[in-house]
Amino acid sequence: MVQESERLRHARPPGPRSGWFPLGIFAVVVAALVGGWMVLDSALPSTAPVAAGQSMIVASRQGHEAKLTFDQDWDLHVGSSTQGQRYRFAKGTADLEMNVLTPPARTSELELWEGLRKVVRVGDASANLTDPRSVTSEAGADGLAGQLHSNRHTGIAALFPAPNGEFAVGATATGDQADLAEVERLLRSIRFDRAPEGGS
């Protein structure tokens, strides 16, 4: 028994630091994973310029893809964008958020607009959309557009369902009137093309 105690004493070095050690590890891990990533993220540039004249595929589903063509001075918020799903663009004071939606089959444009009315309230409970008007892009894509109002911002919203009905591009933007005109210009550039062979 004495030998056993001696062995255990050597196997487990005594000391009141025993409980502090895992707490120290805890603090280091939390600091690294929360604070460390935060510092590194903020040290990297948050936006990347989009080349003027560039066409960007923002969605590609079931043989169709949606493209936007940018003019000068547009930036992409790289950190908060996800390819093919969600994009945040900026130009001047304008902040454009674009989401690729996959509505249930046979959802009408107006039903999607009603859905968008709810979706904009998720981020800002005071946000509301006006009734939509029909719009057609330069490339002939039909969609809906309206005004966005909230206690904090005014802006615009637009919705372009893909011709195959498999997805839709929804956009909301806030900013000064001049910059919102630039957003409208960008949205008018939207086009839906058949994806090349092998495209999803």
Partner: protein, 386 residues
């Protein structure tokens, strides 16, 4: 078992002596009792426990606020859908909680700390992961480009952030209540409960996200669809399984009083890496078809089950050995003492006792199990008694 005494209602020792008495609230007293050899004045051990408890409470509150901030807007706009999702996931949560506690060999873990593990998974781990994941995903997009970040971001982010943040809950519990994490099986069960809590909140988040991805249309269908995908299709091989394996690593370290030898340290590191590897596989853009996703979930589940059965066998062996020693000291037949290592064995022993005597015998059984589990991790593993 077949050698159990025909009259187990007789005193547990030849001289009528019973194991050292405990207060009425046995479990909690057991948790507060110091482990192993005396390491110094109790007050020196109390400070880290209090610090761990304070950190635990604080981070659970912070995590809850962060979670609420992220989800509250969607819950307000889609209250019916959110209620349906909560209802469905609550049922999964209750079943999972009962099941995961039940699979601990010998006896169920302490209820209070089981709930604490679940709560850490649902609040502290989720809140911290929301912040950490947001920044790391952003870093991958910025460094590797949007295409890389969008395809590999989840697999490169979640294992690195979520596995450590979830399993830190088990670390805090092990510091707060050392006797709750006596060994790897305790870490496994508590880790599984942390993972379950995390999984429930993540599933809830996914159900709300699916409504938004559908454009806010047919929200109820989106919730049911999300539930089927996240629970029916991948639920078996999700967070509960990964964090169970990571928790076993913490259990190994805690059992060595956080000073493991090379063997135990390596085993703990390998278990933690295995958990991260499983998480990577789960999130990797590989085998993206439905059969592929099911295959990934099943492989994670099977890996976790292999780890579980190895730990379960080792734990039961240790407890049976400790019970045999306990029995020798108390004058209880070896086979009768060892039978107490299973719930069935204890129930069978109890069934042989006259009904009025059962509460007292149950108490004595619990005392022997307490003592045996205390002793089970006091030394290196030895061969099973015959």
């Amino acid at each position: 078992m077949s050698h159990a005494r025909p009259e187990p209602d007789a005193p547990f020792s030849a001289d009528g002596r019973v194991p050292s008495p405990r207060a009425s609230d046995q479990e909690h007293e057991a948790i507060e009792r110091p482990t192993g050899p005396p390491w110094g004045p109790t007050r020196h051990r109390r400070a880290p426990r209090l610090a761990a408890a304070a950190l635990f409470g604080l981070l659970c509150v912070v995590g809850f606020v962060l979670m609420l901030n992220a989800l509250f807007g969607a819950v307000l706009v889609f209250p019916g859908e959110a209620a349906l999702s909560i209802l469905l996931l609550a049922m999964v949560g209750v079943v999972g909680f009962l099941l995961l506690r039940r699979i601990r060999p010998v006896r169920e873990p302490d209820l209070v700390y089981s709930l604490s593990a679940l709560i850490w998974g649902m609040t502290g781990a989720v809140g911290l992961a929301l912040v950490a994941n947001g920044h790391l995903s952003s870093i991958w997009n910025k460094v590797g480009g949007l295409a890389f970040g969008s395809v590999w971001g989840a697999a490169s982010t979640a294992p690195l952030n979520e596995e450590p943040l979830k399993v830190l809950g088990v670390v805090l519990i092990a510091v707060m209540a050392p006797l709750v994490v006596r060994g790897p099986i305790d870490g496994f069960i508590l880790g599984a409960l942390v993972g379950l809590g995390f999984q429930l909140v993540e599933d809830f988040t996914y159900s709300l996200n699916m409504i938004l991805m559908q454009g806010g249309v047919d929200g109820m269908v989106a919730v049911v669809r999300s539930f089927f995908l996240r629970v029916g299709l991948t639920g078996l091989g999700s967070h509960w399984a990964m964090t169970a394996v990571a928790g076993a690593a913490v259990g190994l370290l805690a059992a060595a009083s956080w000073r493991p030898g090379p063997g135990r340290g390596t085993a703990a590191a390998l278990l933690f890496l295995l958990a991260m590897g499983m998480h990577w596989l789960f999130d990797a853009p590989l085998l993206g078809t439905v059969p592929g996703i099911v295959l990934k979930a099943l492989s994670i589940f099977l890996t976790t089950m292999i780890v579980y059965f190895l730990l379960r066998r080792a734990h039961r062996s240790r407890v049976r050995r400790a019970l045999a020693r306990e029995g020798e000291e108390l004058g209880v037949r070896r086979s009768a003492a060892m039978a107490l290592a299973s719930r069935g064995g204890r129930d069978r022993e109890l069934a042989r006792v006259a009904r009025p005597e059962r509460p007292a015998v149950r108490t004595r059984q619990e005392q022997m199990i307490d003592s045996a589990e205390d002793r089970a991790f006091d030394g290196p593993p030895r061969p099973d008694p015959p």
